[in-house]
Symmetry: C2
Subunit: 459 residues, 2 copies
C-alpha cells in the first residue's frame, strides 16, 4: 500500500515537473532498498554509542580527538570502504583549564553568594577570578548608549532567541553575534569580563558554550555563557538591583597540534576522478558527548557508505566519506580538505554534510545554481516518502563551505527538524540518550537517497 501510493505520487509528480533530471521508476526501488537496509540493519546507532560513550567529548587537540580519529578510521574500514586514509592538518588546542564558575557576590551592596550555572566560551582566555559590578544590557544598541558606564564592569548581554522565529537557526544567526563578538565589543569600552545569555530557548538551566573570537586591538577579557533560567533571574534583578559578579575561568591555548580528517572512499566505476563528498565533523566541545553536534553526522556518513556497499551499489563517481577535524573552533579540517582538492586539481561534483543534529529529516538546504536547484527539487517526490519535503537555497554545512568557496561546486546540508537542536547544542545535555534511533537512521536514508541520485544523474 505504501509502495503503491508512492508510485502514484511519483507518477503524478513526473507529469508536472520539468523533464530536467527526470528520474526513473527504478530509482524508487533503489531508494527503498537503501531505506530498508538502513532502517533494518543500520549500525549508526551503535556506532554513535561507541563514539559518545567510549570516547566522549573530543575537542581539537585533545587525546579524545586523537582517539576518535583512530576509531573513525577503523569504523570506516569495517564498514565497507574501498580505501581509508588520514589527511593531516594543524589544529588549535584550546583547553578550558578547570571548572568555570560564577557567583553573584553582592546585591545592592549586601554580600551574598548565589552561584550561577555558567560555562566559559570556547577560545576565551582566563586566568582565575574577575570580580566586578554587573552592567546588564539587552543588546549592542544598549551597550553603545551606555558605553560611558562600562569601564571596570562585567557586561551581561541578555541576547535571547526571538521565540517568534519558526526556524531557530534564524535566531541563532541573530543572537550568535553576542557570543562571537560580545567580549571585544565590551572590552573596547573598558569592560573586564562579559557574560551572555546562552543561545537557546531551552526550559532547562544548562549553559551553552561555543566559539568566540577576540579583536586583537582590544583587551582579551574572559567570557562566559549563563544558563537561561539564571539569565532570567539576573535580567529581572538588573531592573531594580545593583549586582556584583565574581567569575572564574581558566581558558588558554596550548601550541597548535596535529589533527586529521578521516577520509574513506568508494571508487567510481565510470568517473573515478570525479568526487562526491559526504561528511560530518568528528570534533566536538569538551563539556558533553557531542552527540547531535556532530556525532550523528559522523555516524550517518559511515552508515551511508555501509548501506551503499551492502546493497551492492557501484557508484559512477568516487564517493568520499569525510569525518572533518576542528569544525568547532577553527574549521581547519574543512579548510585543509578544500586546499588539498585545489592543489591536486581534483574535480568535485557535489558535497553534502550533516551537521544540524540527528533529528527527523525535513529536507536539504543547498547552495547551487538555479538550474541545479531545479534539478534537485525535481527529485523531491522520490525523497518525500522518507521525510524530505523541501530543498531550500540557504546553503551547505560549515566544513564544506571552503570547498564551495574554493572550487565553486554546489554544496548542501541535511535539514533535520530544528526545534530541539538548540536545547542541546553545546550544552552538557548533548548526549547519546537524547538521540532517537529512528530519527538518526532516517537522516541517513534521505542523505543516501540524494547521494544516489546525484551520482546517477549528475548535477
Amino acid at each position: 500500500m505504501v509502495n503503491f501510493s508512492l508510485m502514484k505520487k511519483t507518477l503524478t509528480a513526473l507529469l508536472f515537473l520539468p523533464l530536467l533530471g527526470m528520474a526513473q521508476t527504478g530509482d524508487e526501488a533503489r531508494i527503498k532498498q537503501l531505506s530498508d537496509e538502513i532502517m533494518r540493519n543500520g549500525r549508526a546507532y551503535e556506532l554513535l554509542r561507541q563514539l559518545t560513550k567510549d570516547i566522549g567529548g573530543r575537542l581539537s587537540g585533545s587525546p579524545q580527538f586523537a582517539k576518535a580519529v583512530q576509531w573513525g578510521k577503523l569504523s570506516m574500514e569495517q564498514n565497507g570502504a574501498d580505501k581509508v586514509y588520514l589527511q593531516e592538518c594543524m589544529v588549535p588546542h584550546w583547553v578550558r583549564g578547570g571548572q568555570d564558575k560564577a557567583y553573584l557576590v553582592e546585591i545592592n551592596k549586601k554580600k551574598t553568594n548565589q552561584q550561577l550555572d555558567v560555562l566559559a566560551l570556547g577560545n576565551s582566555l582566563g586566568s582565575g577570578t574577575v570580580t566586578g559590578e554587573l552592567l546588564a544590557v539587552a543588546d549592542f544598541e544598549e551597550l553603545e548608549k551606555r558605553k560611558d558606564e562600562v569601564k571596570g564592569k562585567i557586561v551581561y548581554y541578555n541576547s535571547g532567541f526571538n521565540p517568534t522565529n519558526i526556524k531557530p537557526f534564524v535566531s541563532y544567526g541573530e543572537s550568535g553575534i553576542y557570543r562571537r563578538w560580545g567580549a571585544s565589543r565590551a572590552a573596547k569600552y573598558g569592560a573586564i569580563g562579559v557574560m551572555i545569555r546562552s543561545l537557546t530557548e531551552s526550559t532547562a538551566n544548562d549553559p551553552h558554550t561555543g566559539g568566540m573570537a577576540y579583536i586583537d586591538s582590544f583587551p582579551k577579557i574572559p567570557a562566559i555563557a549563563v544558563g537561561p533560567r539564571d539569565a532570567d533571574k539576573v535580567w529581572a534583578m538588573s531592573k531594580s538591583s545593583a549586582m556584583k559578579l565574581a567569575m572564574t575561568t581558566n581558558g588558554h591555548f596550548l601550541p597548535d597540534t596535529i589533527g586529521h580528517n578521516v577520509i574513506a572512499e568508494l571508487t567510481g566505476t565510470e568517473f573515478p576522478d570525479q568526487i562526491i563528498t559526504v561528511g560530518g565533523h568528528l570534533d566536538s566541545w569538551d563539556v558533553n558527548e557531542g552527540a547531535h553536534d556532530d556525532g550523528t553526522g559522523v555516524v550517518q556518513t559511515i552508515e551511508i557508505m555501509r548501506a551503499l556497499k551492502a546493497i551492492g551499489y557501484q557508484p559512477k563517481h568516487t564517493i568520499r566519506f569525510v569525518l572533518f577535524a576542528n569544525e568547532e573552533n577553527g574549521l581547519r579540517g574543512g579548510t585543509k580538505y578544500a586546499a588539498e582538492a585545489k592543489a591536486k586539481g581534483e574535480k568535485h561534483v557535489f558535497a553534502l554534510e550533516s551537521d544540524a543534529g540527528g533529528f527527523t529529516p525535513r529536507g536539504f538546504s543547498i547552495q547551487a545554481s538555479k538550474a541545479q536547484l531545479e534539478k534537485l527539487r525535481s527529485w523531491i517526490p522520490l525523497l518525500s516518502p522518507y521525510g524530505s519535503f523541501e530543498i531550500t537555497g540557504d546553503g551547505g554545512g560549515a566544513d564544506i563551505g571552503p570547498l564551495n568557496r574554493t572550487l565553486g561546486i554546489p554544496v548542501g546540508e541535511l535539514l533535520p527538524d530544528p526545534q530541539r537542536y538548540f536545547d542541546l547544542h553545546h550544552a552538557r545535555s548533548d548526549v547519546f540518550e537524547n538521540v532517537n534511533k529512528r530519527e538518526l537512521l532516517l537522516g541517513a536514508v534521505n542523505m543516501a537517497g540524494l547521494i544516489y541520485l546525484v551520482d546517477k544523474y549528475g548535477l
Copy 2:
C-alpha cells in the same frame, strides 16, 4: 526577510493553485499574528505542567479524571471562552488493581527467578498469579499452525514493529491486532494467559500498556505487554529453551461511572449555529502522566482558543473546544458528543483533533471529499512556513470519528512528526519532561491557522 520570502512563496503558489479556496494576503498576516501570539505568549506548556504534574495519569472513572474535568473547565474559563459547560456521559471504570509482575520461573526444567518488566493490558482481567509453560510465536499465522500446542500454556506474541515502515502508525496498525485480540485468539485454543511484545521500537525496556478486548465466547484470560529488551531476551531464548512464566495481574472493572466532556465555545458572529470542533482527549492511561497522549492535544486545544481571543479574532462560525472523555478504553466521550449533535440537529462544518503527540507538526491527515481535500491543500502555502507540508487523506482523530460517521462531516487530525511517539505511547516514560515546548506550541500554531482558514472560507 522571513516575511518577504513567505510572501514570494505564497504569490508563486497562488499563480499555480486552483482558484478554489484561494486565500488573500491578509490571511498571511492573520496566521503570522496567531503564530507570534502562541510562540511568544503561549500558555500551553504551563497548562501541560499542571495537567501532568498536579493531576497526573487520569484513566476514565478515576478520581484523577474527575479532577482533570474540573481543571479543564477552569482553564477554559480563564483563557477566554464565551461559555463553558460539561457534557455528561457514562464511562467504563477499569482498575489495574495492583502491581503487574512476571517472572521466568523455570528454564529447561531448571528453577530460576528472572523478572520481566511488564504491564497488564488495559481492560484485561486478572485475579492473581497464573503459571504456565511459554509458547512463543511470531504471529497469528504461527499460532494457527501450532494450535494443538497451546492448551494450558501462556502464549507469547513477538509481534514487533516493522522497522522499514517509515510511518510508525502503519506499524501500529499492523501489530496492534496482537494487543487487541491476542488474548481471545489464544484462549480459543486453551491458553491460560498471553504476553505480547510492547508496541514500540524504543531502545528502552519500558513496557507499553493499551486497550484490549475480549471475545465473549472464549475464556477471559489475563494479558500483559513485556518491555522490548525483555522481549528480545525471551524470543532469543525461545529458540532453544523451554520456559515457564508466572504472571500476576489484578485488572477488573468497577461499575460504569459518570464522566464528562469539557466543552468551551467562541460564539460565531455570522453563523452561530454552524459548528467547528477542535479537541483532544482528557483521559489517559494510569501508568504515566499522559503527556503526549493526550495532554498535548488538550492544552493545544485550550491554547488555540486563548490565541484566537487574544488577537481579537471574531469567528464567523461557533468554534467548540472539546476535551473528550474516555478515548483510551471506550470512546464514550466522542460517541456521546456525536449522539448529542445528532439529537439536537446541530449543523457541523468540520472537526479537528490533536491526538498523535505534541511533536513538530508536519501537516494534517483529513477525511473529506476530494473537493474539500483540494481546498484544504490549496492552503498549504499559508501553513508550510509553520511546518505543515502535507495534507493526507488518511483520516481524523478517534474522538471525532463518531461525528464523521454520524453526520458525514469532514474531520482531520494534526500530523506531528511520528518517529518518537511510540517510544512513549502508553509507557511510563510519557511524562512532561519528554515534551518540547516549541514543538508543542508549533502544533497549536498550525491547528489555529487551519481553523482560521476553515472558519473564514468554509469547506
